[in-house]
Amino acid sequence: MSPLLLQGIAGGIVSGCVYALIALSLVIVYKSSDVINFAGGELVMIGGYLGMFALLWLGLPYLLIFPFGALVIFVVGALFDRVVLTKVAGRSVHGQSVLVAMIIATVGLSYMLKGIVRVIPYTEEVRRLPPISSGTPIFVGPVVLQHQDIAIVLAAIAIMAALWAFFSFTMAGKALRATSQNPRAAALVGIPVRTMSMTAWGLAAALAGVSGILLAPKLLITPDMGVIVILALAAAIIGGFVSLPGCVAGGILLGVVQNMIGVYVSSRAISLAPFLVIMVVLLLRPQGLFAGRAVAKKV
């Protein structure tokens, strides 16, 4: 295989891991409340800025900015769910229109977050978060890998493993799964549904935030960083929007396909790649590549 192809694949896997993490965030929210979180990208952006704030202003050691960022954004996400979304969903009479209202609320959140960051003059210029370690790149055959790249892949694996363990083995995780499968039954068994919803949102937000900290050194921090949410959406769709491992596979697939299109078709077509992928996958397999047979929605 040519070095061009190998480098493209390697780069694609790294980017793909980030898309996967953000996609996980979107899917957790969707599974918990049926809402597409349009503020997902902005949560990533806030994560990036928080990481920078923690590192450069608070002087925290690099490894600590992750829990710091995760905690703060967890609170943001949980608060949004508790204060805004429960109010919006409150007097739900007509299922469909409430869903739309909730989605618009997430759109409002995205504008709020972007707006408040833009007001701070510090953010006018493009900024960069230093990578977790900068040293000579690592060579695997003809492929060049930066330390940050490896950190991203390792972090992604660690997070996914932690999530899997959380959902499979802990009470809280199982309770979350139960609530997303059937809220009424969950309430009947004594699971505090509202708290679960808050937790899901907080968790999803924290995931997005951490992705931001991982991504920032590669990508640069600007208030408009959030556009990456489109790539995460594509990754989530490939994965079927219901399965967490699907997100991961979807993200990596998307990252690699993007690079392949860039190398073998044209750079101009790169921006088209995610949308083509979405349309093709949904046309051929509406339930995504990993969701198994299409299942009827619970009524």
Binding site: Y30, V84, K87, V88, I104, V107, L109, K114, I278, P286
Partner: protein, 315 residues
């Protein structure tokens, strides 16, 4: 609620048309421009509401059909010399046809996937507008020659205003008839429950596909309206941001209600103007304020302003 629309409502439309002829005589061009813009958006929003609010289909390809309407109308005039009076309906039919093509496979998808597939289509369409330089002018944009209708040269805000108003009135009337017809009832049934609708003998797939097509026709017409008073278009106009704006307008106004949609367009369309004049020194805060307004609107009026008004009136 069903049956032909009351004469009272139709007469309001005549008032609208009268205003369309009277206002250009008194208002400065700038306000006429705002008016033209809002009216075009109103037609756009009506189309989206038919699909989203009445048929319950979460589809966001709308802005692509708007683009098709604009480029097609402008190009038919510029390249083939076809006058607006024929060009716009042709462009609208083209948009409708593509809408039908999208609608057919889309009927298989359920909510989230439908939303995302149609959103992907809209983004792909924008990519095409941007890359197909030879036809659309690409990122440099396309200059729109002043169209003429029955010998009157339009292209300026005062001259276009009455025509835009007439088209809006026609589209509102069409929407009124549609929503109170058997087809409208079918759409509502599908929105409320597809299973029940199918069980009562409604052709679910067909109705959905036609809803897509009709909503796309509305978008195409709005595209034609755009060419009446704008002299330039470029792909930036057809971005994800506009879809979000449209969606906000109809949700804040009131999904599934004609007055609601018009209120939503008026309010959110004029909001930037209001912010522009009242927030002189604080322009940077506009985005934040906009976000807060959306959130507050959803928290306290999740059924939109019109839904709120109706609940208050005790309906």
């Amino acid at each position: 609620m069903y049956g032909a629309p009351p004469l009272r409502r139709l007469s309001l439309l005549l008032l609208l048309i009268a205003a369309g002829f009277a206002l250009p005589l008194v208002l400065p061009q700038y306000f006429l421009y705002l008016g033209n813009f809002l009216m075009t958006f109103a037609v756009l929003a009506l189309g989206l509401d038919l699909l989203l609010g009445w048929a319950g289909q979460f589809a966001f390809a709308h802005i692509a059909f708007f683009g098709i309407g604009v480029y097609a109308t402008a190009l038919l005039q510029a390249r083939l010399g076809i006058p607006f009076i024929f060009g716009m309906p042709m462009a609208a039919m083209l948009a409708g046809f593509i809408g039908l093509l999208i609608g057919l496979p889309a009927t298989r998808l359920r909510t989230v996937y439908l939303a995302l597939a149609t959103f992907a289509f809209a983004e792909a369409a924008q990519w095409v507008f941007n890359s197909w330089d030879k036809v659309t002018g690409g990122p440099d944009g396309l200059r729109i020659a002043a169209p003429d209708v029955f010998g009157y040269k339009l292209g300026t805000d005062p001259t276009a205003f009455p025509v835009v108003t007439i088209i809006l009135a026609i589209m509102i009337a069409a929407a009124m008839y549609l929503t109170t017809s058997k087809f409208g009832r079918a759409m509502c049934a599908i929105r409320d429950s597809e299973h029940v609708a199918a069980a009562s003998g409604i052709n679910v797939r067909g109705t959905k596909a036609w809803a897509f097509a009709i909503s796309a026709v509305y978008a195409g017409v709005a595209g034609g309206m755009y060419t009446l008073f704008q002299s330039f278009v470029n792909p930036d106009v057809f971005s994800f941001h506009q879809i979000v704006l449209l969606l906000s307008m109809i949700v804040v106004g009131g999904l599934g209600s004609l007055p609601g949609v018009l209120i939503g367009v008026g309010l959110l369309g004029l909001l930037p103007e209001i912010m522009r004049t009242s927030m002189r020194g604080l322009l940077v805060w506009q985005e934040f304020v906009y976000g807060v307004i959306l959130i507050l609107a959803m928290m306290f009026m999740p059924r939109g302003i019109w839904g709120f008004v109706r609940a208050w009136r005790g309906q």
